[in-house]
Symmetry: C2
Subunit: 308 residues, 2 copies
């Protein structure tokens, strides 16, 4: 195999009570990448379509992630990467993670899979470090592995794949405003009340239990964020109305995707997910706020090969 074309999915991190630990993978929202073996040693980004991003390998998240993988393998192989961006940067659904995850997944395939997919996470995290200064795994883990992933620990890195029911759908609306991750982080407080933290981990326990037992009601009852959402949601126009609208239209729960500004809702079944999308659209239409809307089932597989 000398060339591979892959789909690099968008992801929802900071899933309500799972702030900084729990994320999920989307199915029909994502970038595409073409990666080719090259006679020339090293990694070159040869084409970027759909976004104004740096072509220099060391300044591109896909490039940095790819270099981290090759360094670990002590490999002098060469690769050319074409990136077809469909996920907007700064949307809060893992745009940089999709590129980082795609690069390491694709190169690992072309090299005959020296690493298990799970072991690619640390390399993709290097792309995240370039993107936001923090080598977090919240988005690259679900992008690579699919489904729901829990980052139990960073020291040592411990990623847990969480089983989830098959009828779970996400509706994601991305209001076209700029919300920098740094600004979204600056509203956080260093300390939280023990009382709220206990509510948060009770809900996270309920959410994990609901996913394993396919108990949609329990999933819904648990999808609350006591700590971060109240601080961040004020940065997102119409957040309260969008969330309320989602719940009134059958969502199990709703919250901020990543560090925003995208807002997600989870629901049982495609019909409800589209109904929520329609209702959310009406809210932003009325506010005359431009937006992108996505409806996707939870993608159980993560990055996938389109052609090779």
């Amino acid at each position: 195999m000398n060339e591979i074309k892959i789909f690099c999915p968008a992801t929802i991190a900071n899933l309500s009570c799972g702030f900084d630990v729990l994320g999920l993978c989307l199915d029909n929202v994502g970038d595409e990448m073409i990666i080719k073996k090259s006679a020339l040693k090293g990694v070159r980004i040869t084409k970027i379509v759909g976004a104004n991003l740096p072509l220099e390998t060391e300044k591109n998240v896909a490039g940095v992630a790819a270099l981290a993988l090759l360094k670990a393998l002590n490999s002098d192989a060469g690769f050319e990467i074409e990136i077809y961006k469909k996920i907007q940067a700064g949307s809060g659904i893992g745009s940089s993670a999709a590129s980082s995850a795609g690069a390491v997944f694709g190169i690992n395939e072309l090299l005959g899979r020296p690493f298990a997919t799970k072991d690619l996470v640390p390399f993709a995290m290097q792309g995240e470090k370039l993107a936001c200064g923090n080598a977090h795994a919240d988005n690259v883990a679900p992008a690579l592995l699919g489904g729901f992933t829990l980052v139990r620990s960073y020291a040592p890195l411990d990623i847990i794949q969480i089983e989830s029911p098959s009828e779970l759908y996400a509706t994601v609306v991305h209001p076209q405003i700029e919300l920098k991750t740094a600004d979204a982080r600056s509203v956080l407080k260093q300390n939280v009340s023990l009382q709220k933290a206990i509510i948060q981990w009770g809900n996270l326990g309920g959410l994990i239990a609901g996913l394993y037992t396919k108990d949609y009601h329990l999933i819904g009852r648990s999808l609350h964020d006591e700590i971060v959402e109240p601080l961040r949601s004020v940065l997102i126009p119409g957040f309260d109305v969008i969330k309320q609208t989602a719940l009134e239209n059958g969502a199990l729960g709703s919250g901020i995707s990543g560090s925003g500004p995208s807002i997600f809702a989870l629901s049982k079944g495609k019909t409800t997910a589209y109904k929520i999308a329609k209702a959310m659209s009406e809210v932003y239409d009325q506010m005359q706020l431009p937006y992108e809307m996505h409806v996707s089932r939870v993608n159980p597989d993560g990055v996938r090969i389109i052609e090779n």
Copy 2:
């Protein structure tokens, strides 16, 4: 049925990262109660063996829990309760909860089960309110339901039964010191760092996932308490040595049971649990500190009928 004899199990609450939400039920550690129907309306505590506790119904946790149940049923039935205490008060393994849970379970049986067992939790919580001022469910829920229970929420009350692997054993050592719940609570801080809270809910997520997937290693990796154990463990003589000894002898994890002073260790299999008990004993023997030692599998059923 006019009379029932029941086993009322001890329980471990505040299970490491599951502070205030997660507890488990023990199997061969507990009280016994005999409850009889009486022609005389109301609830009377007729005998208490093994502890110096009040016989007045309104001052006894079993009495208060029983009255709460009868009030909800608007019942004018009469009952006599005999309590054979084997769990020491103030041990941190749910002594008051065993009596509260036993009273409501037994009376509910004698009345032909007007309530499902799960719905008895709020009545048993009234006994906890008398015992410590706080109507918590951490111990009465696992005592009534068995296994691991998660108190996801108090408003509204939402108790989740968590599946767990069958080979899980607990070793519990109870150093014979007095540690009042009020003192154990007073060392807590009202605020915690967000960073530590995230580690805590990551671990709780991992623990719940480990229980569902019967992944003993994951259970072990997740059994950490970042927040409460560092503050409370200093109140328990030898805590660090006992915990370290448990881990060195094969425990998956170890921590404070309830609000102490008992220390628990979880392990896979009876042999390891007894090995840990022996090693813990040697530590306290050397310190010349009196203790009680318990080894028990996780009790999947909760309160049970011995005779009726």
